[in-house]
Amino acid sequence: MQRRDFLALTALGGGVAFASALAGCATRAANTATGSGMAPADYKDFYFVQLSDTHWGYQGPANPDAAVTLRKAVATVNALETPPDFIVFTGDLTHTTDDPAERRRRLAEFKSIVADLKVKPVHFMAGEHDASLDRGAAFKEYFGDTFYTFDHKGVHFIAIDNVSDPGAKIGEEQLDWLRKDLASRDKKAPIVVLTHRPLFDLVPKWDWATRDGAQAIDLLLPFENVTVFYGHIHQEHHHVTGHIAHHSSKSLIFALPAPGSQDKRTPLPWDASAPYKGLGFREVEAEDAGVEYKLTEFPVVRA
């Protein structure tokens, strides 16, 4: 049984309200390989979990339960029926503070809490709240490099840092690194990009953009099978640039309004009748040799 079949059966049998596969998201049937040599020989079906925007240290009315929300999410991930192969955090692990000592205290607390995740490895990325005030210095002390690559079952993952520069730039040095990383790759190779801010101009007046993100997209466009997962906007959102699908994740602290729907990007108010409404994390299941991804959204706490 494939994992997707298992999920469907679980949802049907247990009434679990989490089956929300996203039709049309990163599904490019024309690119799906069937024995064309596109899929690496070692490719196997797998899935990972994306968590984002935990903002550890936040205190405010948008989440009066902030002190325990992350711990509850960790427990929910640990209780997944089938453990993921790995976990990624796409930035804003902590809520920003102007105090460098407090920033480190929050990073240390966050790291201690997520150490309870049973699945390893966990790949961490920075958000602007973690890294923009010190160009990633504190983040690196706790989690290492802010941009890196790794490979898993034939899929090449590229973590792009668009937050250590306070101007929301990737920067020439990192773009050169990206160019070199891509230089020798097959144009059909499955590639997943992880980042914090949207690489495209989603809502520039809300600072929902990467100033030089178009350059990264241009470098990726020659590759046929690229999918981007990011955070920052505290909600599920799906967008396509050329043939590249971009999927943002929900937050684990507070939700934000729909892109451009109001003057200011103020957090949506906490709903005491529906705690954690609009919050959650997702499973990303790689199918068809890593050129198609099935997304399943989960709440912070499952019924």
Binding site: T96, G167, P204, K205, W206, D207, D263
Partner: protein, 123 residues
């Protein structure tokens, strides 16, 4: 509300203190433009709502006090780094009523996400 940005005449550019403004194209404008001063500091522009009249020619002078704040005006396709010690100048002549938003796009601290403003253009 309709955004005025598409109809605005953007006449100026970033200029260091004491430098001449770009004057090209201003021959038909009678009189001196009104000067509007904005101060940028953590975590606000003051004032953050600037009333303008459609057709009015103004020069906006922005002075940052404490950080290289950003001023991104997406509707105009312009952005500036506001370097402390330098005056950033922007000439505007909006042609139609509307709102032109601007935002700090250089992450400047705990209140960064509250740092924004707008030009409100009336008929």
């Amino acid at each position: 509300m309709m955004v005025a940005g598409r109809r605005i005449v953007l006449r100026g550019a970033l200029a260091a203190a004491g430098a001449m403004l770009v004057r090209a194209g201003l021959a038909q404008v009678a009189g001196e433009p009104r000067v509007i001063k904005i101060t940028a500091h953590r975590f606000a522009y003051e004032p953050n709502e600037i009333p303008l009249k459609a057709g009015e020619h103004v020069v906006v002078e922005i002075n940052s006090l404490d950080f290289v704040h950003g001023m991104n005006i997406p509707d105009l396709g312009k952005r500036f780094d506001l370097v402390p010690g330098r005056i950033t100048r922007l000439e505007l002549q909006p042609e139609a009523p509307g709102v032109i938003d601007f935002v700090c796009d250089n992450f400047c601290g705990e209140g960064h996400e509250e740092m924004h403003g707008r030009f409100v253009v009336s008929a």
